[in-house]
Amino acid sequence: MTNHWIDIGNSDCILIMGSNAAENHPISFKWVTKAMKAGATLISVDPRFTRTSSKADIYTPLRPGTDIAFLGGMINYILSNKLYFKEYVAYYTNCCFILTDKYSFNDGLFAGYNPKTRSYDKSYWAFEKDKNGIPKKDHTLKHPRCVFQQLKNHYARYTLDKVSAITGTPKEDLLKIYKTYAATGKPDKAGTIMYAMGWTQHTVGVQNIRAMAIIQLLLGNMGVAGGGVNALRGESNVQGSTDHCLLWHIWPGYLKTPRSSNTTLAAYNKKWTPTTKDPLSANWWGNYPKYSVSFLKSMFGEKATAKNDFGYSWMPKVDDGKSYSWLDLFDEMYRGKFTGFFAWGQNPACSGANANKNREALAKLDWLVNVNIFENETGSFWKGPGMNPKKIKTEVFFLPCAVSVEKEGSITNSGRWMQWRYKAVEPAGDCRPDGDIMVELFEKIRELYRKEGGTFPEPILSLKWDYTTGGKYDPHKVAKEINGYFLKDVTVKGKKFKKGTLVPSFAYLQADGSTSSGNWLYCQSYNEKGNNAARRNPVDKSGIGLFSEWSWCWPVNRRIIYNRASVDRYGNPWNKKKPVIRWTGSKWVGDVPDGGWPPMLTKDGKLNPKTKYPFIMKPEGHARVFGPGRADGPFPEHYEPLECPVPKNLMSSQLHNPTIKLFKTSADKYEKTCDPRYPYVCTTYRVTEHWQTGVLTRWQPWLLECQPQLFCEMDEELAKLKGIKNADKVIVESPRGKVEAVAIVTKRLKPLKVEGAIVHQVGLPYHFGWVYPKDGGDSANLLSPSVGDPNTKIPETKAFMVNVTKKGV
């Protein structure tokens, strides 16, 4: 979230699309309800009429995987009716930048496409620069090659007729929603988006979010109270695990994982540190070396010296151009490339797309360690459906771990709040906190390296790893290390600091080895003032629900990021009733501002040379309406899901995203477009009563009582067509697998008219698995395809093709 949960209550218009907040984030509705009570409009756009839709002022369906068409139509509506927030667009976004004449877009392809590699040469998407190397700007937005005019050209193609034909959404609904949402383009109005996996789990996942970000920028909804682009994270600490580099491509704090071509620390820092020639651009990532060196100091302590590149050579590198995402890992595992696997707090036999492939992949391992609270389909894969235990070589170890309330530590919620939790009870039996398991494991491994040497022992033997107290994992020591220390007596920014004290905030981190920080974004979370994540002051001084002394949030306790865009160029809030920050003439008051520099204009309307542009994380200082960094194009463009019910894409002759890559094992079967064997669009989702693959909730009798079995929701016409009655058992089948489910025949799903034909859609929750309960059904991911977004490789589990039949017919 750029904003935070409480802030939803400040909104004038809430669009819930790509998420089902009432069901999957029930507490969020406390704030949605609050906003509605104050007069906000709630819009729900979803293939199904959900519990969220039941509360909405406006509901409309769309076909899964057509969100860009829907949103592209909204961009067109905003531009052609001149409903955008002109001053904001002209000065805070890159709409005023001028593109070089190499940029073009033709029939679904952007300039620079290489059909052999199925990738783009992004140098075709560059900005024209002046003699000083600064992007040229036209604040009148009239230059034919400026981003604004190109945006207009691009989305003029998204007419109501075309959008409706693609999405299946009635035209009058589109218009009503466009009009309602676009009304937040007024300076004192704010619209917000609550999205989740309904937008990300597509082959155009990243561009779905980009499309909405463009809308929010056109309407001036970024940085303001009640606005923002708000990802509702699917687990209580998924934000924290991402921040601390759960994913392969990053180090903590979104630093890059080194590529093999980054042979030295200097080469690595040079490669990943963006530069700017514009004196008005803060280019915050210019501080990159301070964060990377401080991180290496946290990893290797005194062993990290300037002479040895602070231990940079000990860190793992990934091959250039190679992806190591979830889908890639399981592909390698399936092809027998792995010997061992730790499935830690996860259940890939049910959670991963194309789950049959994952289950078969586990059988190719020598060993598998399953760390979990309950037995699950991953640890027990060898005795699952279709498996012959006698023929499986994998040795499985099960390590029971403590649950969240049985250990101390922090979680970071969707609103970036790091919240400290105390231990409520002791773990049951011999269950241990994950930290203790890791410490014990690491110490054994280090002992073996010490005794036996082995290949490349230095990284393990040089790790600082002093996180224990009395031999046990100590969460406070880890939290302090994440914050970082001064490693010698130093003077920074005119202030003296003693060796061994905690760094006050990331502005004090250094690239010379004098500071450490396990994650620069969290520097300030646990400093000499104490454990800020544990703060519990329930007083809100802001008047807009920032609650700045309750827990702590990254970065530097800034509750609404990009808040420098919430004010005009003089520093006055666009919305005077809900100010996030305000310039008093000498300083900012309110939330922690995105940098303390003065506003862009002085009192007499002249450019203040001391100012910086508001979007400080971008080298150009302007929010990117034109996004030249993505794999699949600088503007979002509608492409059909890999498996789709239509023979052609009405927007271009590119049926699918031209940059996606398919896996090629025998387990990777994909539906060919319009295959009559798989005529129905399928989507997967969650329900309130269960969590993820249900490992935690299926064993909870009260929750299981509410949602005992896998179900398949379908519309009444489809049910009639297939002779299916409500509560009948049905078989749902895709090219990859099949599941048995209970039919819920409902008015809440309707057939959609798409490109002149009727399209039926069905949906299944993915909470169930064969281990328990025995009559609960198996994972809906046995159906979903292993294909991912070209930027993130998140699998396309929200739109694929299946068949549905009545069981026994």
Partner: protein
């Protein structure tokens, strides 16, 4: 009429079922083995272990789909007919708490005729537990007496479940009704004058639940009840005679 009341604003209910589970948790009521019967609603009905049940129903109004949620529970009637029925058989089996107005079934309800008690309730609430005791929502009398909110109200994230002094709840309900009337002409409070669990709905109550308002057969039951009430002194005399 003082005491306490619930105000249940169904327009704010998201059917998260936090209330249903919180009720089970506080009362330590077991889960039954259920099957999906083509609905999210589960268990299918109130039972000996389920005092609170969120009912789901779909309706189409002017071509627009609506999904209604009805967190069903005992209404704690101001004049509870179940109490009369039960006490026609067992004295002191039902406590009608003076301070709150809660209608509380004691252990003695084991001796009351279940079907007759159930039929006498215009909202079809009482159920028989495995122990033989008749059971239903207790208004969390133990919690409320200790100054806490009922478990279902405490857990509700949206403000659908409200609880407090009856006059305050009635005022809240009337205020909310007035707001909703503008958009939903059929908005109404259900039997607000005779119950302590006041529902606000925006459509015909029958679309939410067959027993959302006092059932039409209740007239008949009333007559049966009236007969029992009339006969009660004589029967009590008779019982006294036997035991004495």
């Amino acid at each position: 009429m003082a005491g306490k009341s619930f105000f249940i604003d169904t327009t704010r209910c998201t059917a998260c079922r936090g209330c249903q589970i919180a009720c089970k948790n506080w009362n330590q009521n077991k889960a039954s083995k259920t099957k999906n019967w083509g609905s999210y609603q589960n268990p299918k009905d109130l039972d000996g272990n389920t005092f609170k049940l969120v009912r789901f129903s779909e309706a189409e109004v002017n071509g627009k789909i609506r999904w209604y949620f009805f967190p069903d529970q005992c209404r704690h009637c101001l004049e509870p007919p179940c109490k009369d029925t039960i006490e026609g058989y067992v004295d002191g089996a039902v406590i009608h708490d003076k301070a709150t107005g809660a209608v509380f079934y004691t252990e003695k309800t084991k001796k009351a005729p279940y079907e007759e008690v159930k039929d006498s309730c215009p909202y079809n609430i009482p159920r028989k537990a495995a122990s033989g005791r008749l059971v239903k929502c207790t208004m969390c009398l133990d919690r409320v007496s200790a100054g806490l909110l009922p478990a279902c109200v405490k857990t509700c994230p949206t403000g659908a479940m409200n609880f407090g002094d009856r006059d305050k709840m009635l005022a809240l309900a009337k205020k909310r009704l007035a707001e909703l009337k503008k958009k939903y002409p059929k908005a109404q409070l259900l039997d607000a004058d005779s119950v302590r669990t006041i529902y606000l709905v925006i459509d015909d109550p029958q679309k939410y639940h067959k027993f959302a308002v006092a059932s039409s057969e209740s007239g008949l039951i009333d007559r049966k009840l009236a007969m029992k009430k009339m006969l009660r002194p004589a029967r009590n005399l008779l019982k006294a005679g036997i035991t004495g």
